[in-house]
Amino acid sequence: MAAAKKLMSVSRDWRERDVRVVLVALIIAVATVATIALFANQLQRTLVSSASSFLAADRQLEAENGRPVPVEWLEEARNRGLETGQMIEFSTMVFGESGFQLVSVKAVSDEYPLRGEIEIQPSQDAPREIVGGGPGQGEIWVNPRLLRLLALNIGDTLEVGSRKLEITRLLIREPDGGFRLSSLAPRVMMHVDDVSSTGVLQEGSRVEFVYLFAGADPVLEDYYQWLEPQLEPSHEWEGVRDGETFSRSLERAERFLLLGGSLAVLLAAVAVAVASRQYALSQRDTVALLKTLGLTGKGIGRLYLRRLALWGIVGIVGGLAVALPLFWLLVRLLSDVLERPVDFYLDPAALTPALMTALVSLFAFAYPPIRRLRSVPAMRVLRSQPGETGREAIPDMVLAVVAIFGLVWLYAGELALVVSLLGGLVLLLTVLALVGWLMVSVLRRVRGGGNAWRLALVGLYRHRQASMAQMAVFAMTLMLAATLVLVRSSLLDDWQAQLPDDAPNHFLINIAPESVDEVETFWSERGAPLDTVYPMVRGRLTELNDRPVKEAVSKDERVNALNRELNLTWMAELPDDNRLVEGEWFAPGVTEGVSVEAELAGRLGLKLGDRLTFTIGSEKITEPVTSIRTVQWDSMKPNFYMAFPPNGGLTDMPGTWITSFHLAEGNKLLLNEFSRQYPTVSVLEIDHIITRIQEIVRQVTQAIEAILALILAAALVVMAAVVSATLRDRQREGALLRTLGGQQSLLVRSTMLEFALLGFVAGVLGVLAAEAAVYALQVRMFEGTFRWHWQVILPIPVLSAGLLALFGRWQLRPVLSVSPMLLLRRLE
């Protein structure tokens, strides 16, 4: 079937504008979905592994009672195929030649870290290096600040208790550093097997044994099920997801990527639908001829199905050809930002949504108009038949809408998102119908004439069906693109606001009550004033309404806060970034009650008035819940699950004070002076963590930009598809107008005006619909607050008018460059 085959070949198809639009739209849809799915997958894995690296493992078991856990526990873990490792953390004095210093020691086993890497410097001047393991026996790695404090050098010896260790490396960053408030600065790291020879650990020493576990999630879960009944209150099992500082930001980024991807798919689907309909219309003559020559309806159906399958293959192969390099590029960026190599993780399962997209686009959008080709009358070869009225397409549209929203839902997994978008679109189409009706009734009165304005208005009226369709698609495209731009900028603003340049990057812990004022003066004199200083008392929540809390709360609710000591505080005023959800804040003079963080309250099922009993040391206090508040966990300030009123039940309990502040990079040496003056105050340096979060945000932003570019490309393809829909009619009219003596400039002006008007109205509607959608998304999904975006409301209609005017001018090219006669003949 050489001729018939050739008739249906992709290379031949490519010469047809409508097919090109379909193929490009398909490629964009597949590429977008594949890139996002692959990258989200990669991001998830990379970040979970980097989040895991905050623990240096997938799970940690901490024994705060100063005693190692039974050896069988670790044997059991290894028998189950888990990797294990061990650390001992304690504080002690170390001695150099010129002095001594309180340090926080982390003694690690050979396996450390199970996840993540350690950053070191071989000497003060050498470049930083990333290594996969800790110091060997007889070695000690120290924080650079300690070297300066004790005037030591690499190669010198440091005495830890009765053991001399050689300083071999500078410890810049440990994967699990910085998140534990009990860690003391400056840090040194040594081998776990050297600990006993130091003799510093005595019965009753303040020491923490930490066990590291890594392996597959289900195995870890099973192990925990086995372990849990044996755990004592002083044992704490910690997973990655708990207390993660930026998980919320990431979640939002992921949602944004999904939203973006959905919009790209939506736009591409619109392009596929418009172009396929156009293509089907252009194929009617061919089909009529094939029928005349004896091809049956079934044969026609098969012919075009085969063609659709070919398009699908081209779309999928082409889409992947775009997606894979893009994905590679994004992973490279990711690895640059994280300053470490990132393994490619190409999950074939992540390609499923891309394949689904291609199939759904083809069968829900491209197929219906092509299927109708089967019923083209053969008689068409002798006499042109009435074309489609558009009514036949209504069931197709219903199918398409259901398909696309099903796809978006399946893909983004967010009903709220689908409903927001659908709501925005329905609103848009309703307003559009209204505006269209108004326009048609106004334009009907315009009389034609030699004036460009009048010609433009008459043109709009004459093409009212096409004009309305174009306006709908333009408005929808603009709405989707504007939604995305708006959500993106508010998302980025949000992050920026979350981590401003002067965000606190150091914590001071363990401030003795009597030195609070002095410490505040120390730092404010040096230009780094402290944020609010909060008292901190360690205690456990033990009873809920006079029942032991472990009984009162169902076992399914694995509430980490219950497994460990909580930091309790008292405060007179609600911190700026906390928000009261229920109840009332402590009135002045009130000494009763406790304010609980909202999420914890939710998980424990707490209501106002519930009585909470805390065990602090050997004492118990019981207070009713008087308010529930949200906390900004990622604010980098001290945050508390439980807050009491001043002079309440907590006031007489032994405690220390905590605060955070911002210290510029150049002022780091002040820490040495501070540590010398206040050796018992612990300084927690979290500037590394902040930098890292900022890096990740930057990375995600780049990914978002890349996705945005794909989406704008999809928007352009939609526009091209819609414009090409009326191209021939307009060209024929232009040629006729010229034949009848219309001047080129008149033609150009009236066409550009017609399109500009179209673009302006579409722009206004699109932007308003975008605001509505953003309102819904912002408030419902991204938990933000809504404001009007004047910066886009004004320029977008103007831009869209300009852009469409240029589009109009561009599509006139053939009319202007070729003689009217030639053009009319070509359009025959």
């Binding site: 001729a3 001829l289 029928k291 005349t292 020559l293 004896g294 044969g299 009358p377 002798l382």
Partner: protein, 242 residues
């Protein structure tokens, strides 16, 4: 198929038999009658011209005779098959085997070369060695040197020659031609109609041609006139009226 073969053996039966053919089109407000009670018999090997002015109904009649459309009333028997009772697909199969077409606007597929355009009906009808037959026919219409040219690279006259070659490719029993010279100048029209008549004679095909060109009509063995949907045959007008 068996029935068709049997009827073909009975050479005496007419190629085309039309009885009481009426065609109406429903408009928004009323119904328009395009053809009114047409009766007609065309014998095998005959060449018949249907002449009439624009809008007289001749193209509609051609479409109904060829089974491209179905009438509101009446019957059309083509080569022994009552086609108004056939489904669209059955009519398509019948056309593939028995019917050839030549159109005013040539109706070549612009994407295919001359050779491929001629091969297409042969492939659709499942005829073996389509290329050989297509080449021979293009040689015969004088386009042996232009096999690979696409319609755009051919003149109007050349395009119509390709269309004629295509029409005869599947060796049809009957050929329908709709204003075959309507889009051509006089001289080209003349040579194209020469070719059409010659081939028709050589192949012994029945020819039904619609035209408003009296000279072309005069070259056919029989002329029918159509006006306002009513068909008359000058010589036998009286008989037809009865």
């Amino acid at each position: 198929m068996n029935q068709m073969t049997d009827l073909r053996k009975a050479d005496a039966s007419p190629m085309l038999r039309v009885a009481g053919l009426t065609h109406k089109v429903r408009l928004e407000t009323d119904t328009l009658t395009i053809l009114q009670g047409v009766n007609l018999e065309i014998n095998r090997g005959e060449s018949v011209a249907i002449v009439g002015r624009s809008g007289s109904g001749k193209t509609t009649l051609l479409g109904l005779l060829a089974g491209l459309d179905t009438p509101s009333e009446g019957t059309v028997e083509l080569d022994g098959s009552e086609i108004s009772g056939l489904s669209e697909d059955e009519r398509a199969k019948l056309r593939a085997r028995r019917v050839g077409f030549v159109f005013q606007s040539f109706q070549l597929l612009p994407a295919l070369s001359a050779l491929e355009n001629v091969m297409l009906p042969l492939e659709l009808a499942g005829i073996e060695a389509p290329e050989k037959r297509a080449r021979d026919l293009l040689e015969r219409v004088g386009l042996g040197e232009r096999l690979t040219h696409t319609p755009r690279q051919l003149s109007g006259g050349e395009q119509q020659r390709v269309a004629i070659a295509r029409a005869f490719a599947s060796d049809p029993a009957i050929l329908f031609a709709d204003e075959p010279t309507g889009n051509l100048d006089n001289r080209t029209g003349q040579s194209v109609s020469d070719l059409l008549m010659d081939l028709n004679r050589e192949q012994g095909t029945t020819l039904v041609m619609v035209t408003h060109d009296e000279r072309l009509a005069a070259r056919c063995g029989r002329q029918l006139h159509i006006e306002a949907g009513v068909l008359t045959e000058p010589d036998t007008a009286r008989e037809m009226a009865d």
